[in-house]
């Protein structure tokens, strides 16, 4: 409005211009309506968080976090589920992050943005991000367990007892690694874009080869972005239940996974089982709320860290 006013020729009275450019009152209706949408969304988020915090805060204690479940989930803690989740996402990161990072490096350093292969890979990444998580679960069962696992069993363990060809933490972690691959790729790419050209040019000017530049300059500079991607992947992976339903999660285990072929307990799966298959809902309710709160805190803390790192990368890029 002000720009227009200043552009207007002098002779026209200021009041006339203001009259003409004054927003009509009904202009406030869409503004109020869209603001209402924002408020409803914020209210929903607060409602969900509030309910879970109020319901679960009383249950959280050191013993709850460090003791195993007792009396068929009606007492005790969630220690094995926490450990299982940690092991699972740890393995997932080991499998998934290197591949994701190198994919981003390839897309950003080796190919031209518009080339056919780049476009094809990008389409694949976008589609991978959109495949329903239950389909990943099916894939984990059909490919990792049914094909790879049984293949290993047939080749190396001729006895009838399956060793690798059954649900296990390694298959669940691999499935999740695939599911979170797009997250890692996208975050790493964003970090790669933030690296100033001059830094790379300087490396080449010193006689470094492409691979040396990638290893010594580009990857170290992109570390915050890689870190963000890994954290976001962990946050996503820790919350996904559908892909691990048939690939390794167990309702209750008296032991903690120590081998790659062990099954494991997991927080999200624990929530699902307690919420839907508990014989006595009232007795498990406090534990259920406590578990949900732990899971939610875990994912939010991870997301928050990732958002902080990412906004620092972005501000650095703008500063250039």
């Amino acid at each position: 409005m002000n720009d227009a006013a200043s552009l207007a020729a002098q002779p026209i009275a200021d009041s006339a211009i203001k009259q003409h450019f004054k927003p009509k009152t009904k202009g406030y209706v869409p503004r109020a309506l869209t603001l209402l949408a924002v408020i409803i969304i914020i209210a929903m988020l607060l409602l969900i968080l509030g309910d879970i915090i109020i319901g679960g805060a009383g249950k959280i204690s050191w013993t709850f976090l460090t003791s195993p479940p007792e009396q068929g989930m009606q007492a005790g803690g969630i220690f094995p589920a926490i450990i299982g989740t940690v092991f699972l996402v740890f393995l997932m990161v080991i499998f998934g992050v290197p591949i994701g990072v190198l994919t981003a490096v390839y897309l950003h350093e080796y190919t031209r943005p518009g080339s056919k292969i780049t476009r094809l890979i990008r389409i694949a990444i976008n589609n991978l991000a959109g495949v329903p998580s239950i389909v990943f679960g099916l894939f984990g069962l059909g490919f990792f367990i049914g094909f790879v696992g049984r293949g290993i069993d047939k080749a190396f363990f001729p006895s009838n007892q399956p060793v690798w060809g059954q649900p296990a933490i390694i298959w669940a972690a691999l499935t999740l690694a695939l599911l979170t691959l797009p997250v890692v790729i996208i975050s790493t790419e964003e970090a790669l874009k933030a690296i100033p050209r001059e830094v790379k040019d300087a490396s080449y000017a010193l006689g470094a080869t492409k691979l040396q530049t990638i290893r010594r300059v580009i990857i170290p500079q992109a570390l915050p972005g890689i870190f963000t991607g890994s954290i976001l992947a962990i946050s996503r992976g820790a919350g996904e239940v559908a892909p691990i339903l048939f690939t390794g999660a167990a309702y209750f285990l008296p032991y903690i996974p120590t081998k790659l072929t062990d099954q494991f307990m997991e927080l999200g799966y624990h929530v699902y089982v307690m919420a839907t298959q508990s014989p006595d809902v009232d007795k498990t309710m406090p534990i259920l709320y406590g578990t949900v709160l732990v899971l939610l805190m875990l994912t939010f803390l991870l997301n928050f860290t990732a958002i902080m790192i990412r906004s620092r990368i972005r501000s650095r890029r703008k500063g250039e």
Binding site: I41, G142, A275, L295
Partner: protein, 322 residues
């Protein structure tokens, strides 16, 4: 002999460069290979429905689609009862359930997400925007099992208390929770589309005397419509494929009714609920993978379409400014 050394070094490093690039390229292909493998292996497990005579006795594609006379004297109808005798594998009840849940989710999420996106892109101050973005990211960060839990324990009871529906867990309950899950997707895509409308177009409209809301409604919104539509389509795809929320909050009864207050069973939830208990390689197992194939193809097409629309929109909007 320094020159010879130099030559050796170069050859070695060239080899290393070559290997390095090939390894990096192989990693980059992993996304492509994974998509192909996912399709191949899910399709492979559902193939016996078409080829295996033993399986075909129990279930065929025709039996899954058309109404069957399951018992003598009964009129033919659709039913999903894979553990009954004879096992009934009609997909229609699941299809209706999936559609009902996704429809409720879209009706719930679209006005909120598009409205909020519009506010964020058109009206919000910078500070307000800094509130909205993290809120959406937090919402997107809630694991679906937590939303499912919330819908099962809290939302269902609240709705039951207000409306007194026959079934506590129904399409509306699950749909609302699904809607919360897809708000971030629709918001992000729609907001992106609206705020990528070039400033020069806004300036032009303003210079012609349009006030802020006229700029938004007559200029930005029409230009961003394909983006908003793409956001809705992507949200719909997510709603159809989402598993844990519907598994926990929908009641999981395969009823072919059009009422939104009946319990429902969706495709995704059916796989999740039944696969753990089926015999490896049985007809039931194959049918569940067949459903997985349908889900995969459906979401694949939706994502491809959404991508296409968005990249075209980007070209169009950027092309105009230059």
């Amino acid at each position: 002999m320094p020159t010879n050394d130099n030559f050796n070094f170069r050859r070695k490093s060239k080899l290393r460069e070559w290997f390095g690039e090939k390894i990096i390229m192989m990693c980059a292909m992993s996304a492509l290979v994974s998509i192909a493998l996912i399709f191949i292996f899910i399709f492979r497990e559902s193939l016996p429905i078409l080829t295996d005579n033993f399986v075909k006795e129990e279930v065929t594609v025709g039996k899954m689609i058309f109404p069957q006379q399951w018992k003598k004297g009964e009129p033919p109808h659709w039913a999903w009862q894979p553990t009954s005798d004879p096992p009934k594998y009609s997909l229609l009840p699941l299809f209706i359930g999936t559609l009902k849940a996704a429809l409720v989710a879209m009706l719930f999420a679209t006005p909120l997400a598009v409205g909020a996106a519009m506010y964020s892109s058109e009206f919000a101050s910078k500070r307000m925007r800094e509130v909205i973005k993290p809120v959406i990211e937090l919402l997107a960060g809630i694991p679906s099992v937590v939303l499912g839990f919330f819908a099962l324990i809290v939302l269902a009871s609240v709705l039951q208390g207000v409306f007194h529906w026959t079934y506590r867990l129904n399409a509306i309950n699950a749909g609302i929770a699904l809607g919360i899950a897809i708000i971030p997707i629709i918001f992000t895509v729609a907001e992106d589309a609206m705020s990528s409308v070039p400033g020069s177009l806004r300036d032009a409209a303003r210079a012609l005397g349009a006030n802020p809301w006229q700029v938004s409604f007559t200029m930005v919104l029409p230009a961003a419509v394909p983006g908003i539509a793409a956001g809705m389509v992507l949200g719909f795809g997510r709603a159809v494929g989402e598993t844990m929320i519907v598994l926990m909050a929908s009641g999981n009864a395969a009823i072919s009714s059009l009422s939104f207050v009946d319990s429902i069973r969706t495709f995704a939830a059916t796989i999740a609920a039944e696969l753990a208990e089926v015999v490896f390689g049985s007809a039931h197992y194959n049918v569940l993978f067949f459903i997985g194939t349908i889900l995969f193809i459906f979401t694949f097409l939706i994502n491809l379409g959404g991508d296409l629309v968005l990249s075209r929109l980007r070209i169009k909007l950027q092309g105009r400014t230059r």
